[in-house]
Amino acid sequence: MAQFKRRHFIIGTVAAAGALGVGWLAAPPRQRLVGKKPLGVSPGQAALNGWVKVGSDNTVTVMMSQAEMGQGAHTGLAMVLADEMDAAWESVRLEQAPIDGIYNNQAAVVDALPFEPGDNGLLKRGSEHVLRRLLREVPGLAETGGSSSIKDQWLPLRQAGASARLMLVAAAAKAWSVQSSECTTESGTVRHPSGKSATYGELAADAAEQPLPKDPPLKAPAQFRLIGTGLRRLDNLAKITGTAAFAIDAAPPGLVYASIRMCPTVGGKVASFNAAQALAMRGVSKVMTVDPVSGSLAATGNISGGVAVIADTPWRAMRALEAVKIEWDHGPAANLSTSSLFAAISSALDTQEGSTNLKKGDVAKALKDAAKTVKAEYRVPLLAHATMEPMNCTVQFANGAATVWAATQAAGVACDAVAKALGINAAKVDIRVPFLGGGFGRRYLSDCIVQAAHLAKATGGAPVQLIWSREEDMTHDFYRPAYIGRSEAGFDSAGKLIAWQLTSAGSNMGAPGFLGASSEGASNTPYRVPNIKIAHLAVESPLAVGIWRSVANSENAFFIESFMDELAVSAGVDPIAWRADLLAHDPRALRVLSRVAALSGWGTPLAAPDGTRRARGVAFHRCFGSTVAQVAEVSVNAAQEIRVHRVTCVIDCGVAVNPNLIRQQLEGGMIFGLSAALRGRITIEKGQVQQSNFHDYTPLRMSECPEIHTEIIADGTTPGGVGETGTPPIAPAVANAVFALTGQRLRELPLKLA
């Protein structure tokens, strides 16, 4: 997921970068091996570079800047370093990395540059170069998002592992008075043909004294021992014994708890409140207002202001909150509704063009000349993230410094936001990022963290834990925006597709128009059509909206893959053959399509065990550097309910660091997308979100889950993203299957048969 405001800032800074000197710019992007400050070490531990420490007890500690929110990044990233280092997997430990430029997520930023697919021109290469250099200078951009953790740290972690290995070997060679080149390494031990051997732990202190190899040779893929294997997750044990620490489990001494009720009208605030009754209740120490807060980045709009109660237990804070009488200032969104939102988007589309993010040929002319045209309009609703762990944050502010326990995908940004709220320097903020109980983009935003920081000013130095109720979490999200997509295509008299255009409209999520954030997954379409135009029309509202797993790919894949299916039907061509024809130039896409066809039994008769009719639908999508195709198999019951029985998913992700975890992410991404496709919908009346808990915003249950088959194609040299890639194609695959079964084309999510 892209970090729009930061990115905007960075791109804006490119022009100013000249001030740093032509020489600075001309030099190659700096290494990411060693940070500005040396790593802290415990007794017996030696830091060999900015990514790894080795202890005399043989532990290998990998510095982890990325948040673990279920996507398996901790395990995958540790595997990359451990493999190049020849570390023993059982000896690997993780430690949260400090905030330093070497951990900045370059891939997430560079991938989001507004260049057309296949463009490798001077401007693109130059911009990337400058950005990568700048990213070394601005600390705190180690965001976890955009399916980019492995992609970004693939090279730095391998270099760090290889460099550390060479230092350990050099230390052994020196001690044994032999040549380094004669030594070998395996599972945390250096060996010499003479029979001498030493463990990494024994060598660590001396290794740290060796010169730092800055450009170490890397393994050839055939030499990998861990990469490509399905090692079990490092966090399994903690998560099956209840000992995994989440932010909500932070329990520093003297902890007090806060509960908050925010203005139910989105973006509103407190007009006045009466806390007399609440303050008389047991354990209650304080009742105070909290101002509306922004999300800090990758979002637009504010989370409503509210009233918070601080008490000695969570339950007493919650109970007392119910006793506070609050008058609200409903603000500018008091008349907002889902229908007014869609009406505004629709009428904007009637009169405005938006910004063009991809243009080839002359679509207008080709459509005018076409022998046949096809038009369709699609709609997707607002969606909540509904992470299982509700928003919460613990902050202690004492003696001018703050300690923060926060589930965040953007620790550096959260740090800055807390510092600003408390009026202190960011260096005075110590942020601890435990496991995240789900992220999905929601935890990019610092709103709840900033609220907790404000509360921490009122507790006399005691740590305070703010916990949102599920109702607050559901009604005060940065929702996935609602969008309308309008597509039109033209065929020539021979039946060949000659023109295609898509204009989507809805929020651009706080990004400047030229970045085309909401065209992601459309403006970089691999489909080749002679005349093509992809545009986005930004239509904003007071509602807080932001990024949601797979960001704009989530709606654009539905718009495009539904329309491609309509075109295939109109042309009388098989839907997979239709796509293959438009992707004939793209061998990776063709292979994914042909594998999904073979694995799903595409084209073969379908028979349900009980004799009910079933049909298949296909969708294809490329995002985050990976290519995915899915085939869904559906039926419809007498009550017109759609049931998805089986999904086949094929991904080409270049390199598969851990195939087991990739399958896990594909399954999870599809089920997440299927929850949205079948019933995900946030609605608004009079400025207030109508859903409040899991009874009216219900994710899929186990009994509703399809059987899932996945296949991974991995014969590339660089890894593509994985964590979000399963989500975009599932809604159109199901909608297309429903059409094949019923003849009804469902152009709106969630899918509902008439």
Binding site: M69, G70, Q71, G72, R232, R233, D235, N236, L237, A238, K239, I240, T241, G242, T243, A244, A245, F246, I248, D249, A251, Y257, R282, T313, P314, W315, T387, M388, E389, P390, F435, G437, G438, G439, F440, I467, S469, R470, E471, N660, L661, Q664, E667, G668, G669, M670, I671, F672, N693, F694, H695, T698, P699, L700, R701, M702, S703, C705, E707, I708
Partner: protein, 150 residues
């Protein structure tokens, strides 16, 4: 004052009688493995055993638990639990992990009542436990594996 029997140990609490067991476990007894998800018995993240039966601790008043045997994820350590944990690890069930304490508590109650459950039995027993990461197919496979391996 209420006397609680949690994981075989006795605790005294002066929490108000209507305080949900969840908050006493987490806040007072420092057993944070039981998770807050919805507060309305809609998601199952807070599932514990009350006399061996899976209940949602977010809507169970602490007074209703007094005098009964309460087991939380921290105290789940019998043969069934061990089989489930082996299966959970072998199949790599967990993702974010937040719902998994509750999933394991429900799975354990199921296997004790029904050592060889069918898919339909598993669906019925586990349908109250939500997971946003989509670990369901692996949970189902792990329950079957645990049932087989015992």
């Amino acid at each position: 004052m209420l006397t609680l029997n949690i994981n075989g140990k006795t605790f005294i609490t002066d929490a108000e009688a209507d305080t949900p067991l969840l908050w006493v476990l987490r806040g007072e007894l420092h057993l944070p493995g039981t998770k807050f998800g919805c507060g309305k018995a809609l998601c199952g993240a807070c599932t514990v055993h009350l006399n061996g039966v899976a209940v949602r601790s977010c809507v169970t008043p602490v007074a209703a638990a007094a005098g009964h045997e309460v087991t939380t994820i921290e105290g789940l350590d019998d043969a069934v639990a061990q089989a489930l944990r082996r299966a959970w690890t072998e199949i790599d069930v967990v993702q974010c992990g937040y719902c998994q304490s509750g999933q394991l508590m429900s799975a354990s109650a199921l296997l004790k009542a029904n050592p060889q459950p069918s898919d339909a039995d598993i669906d019925a027993a586990m349908s109250g436990n939500l997971c946003r990461c989509g670990t369901y197919p692996r949970i189902r496979a792990a329950i079957h594996l645990a049932a087989k391996g015992r």
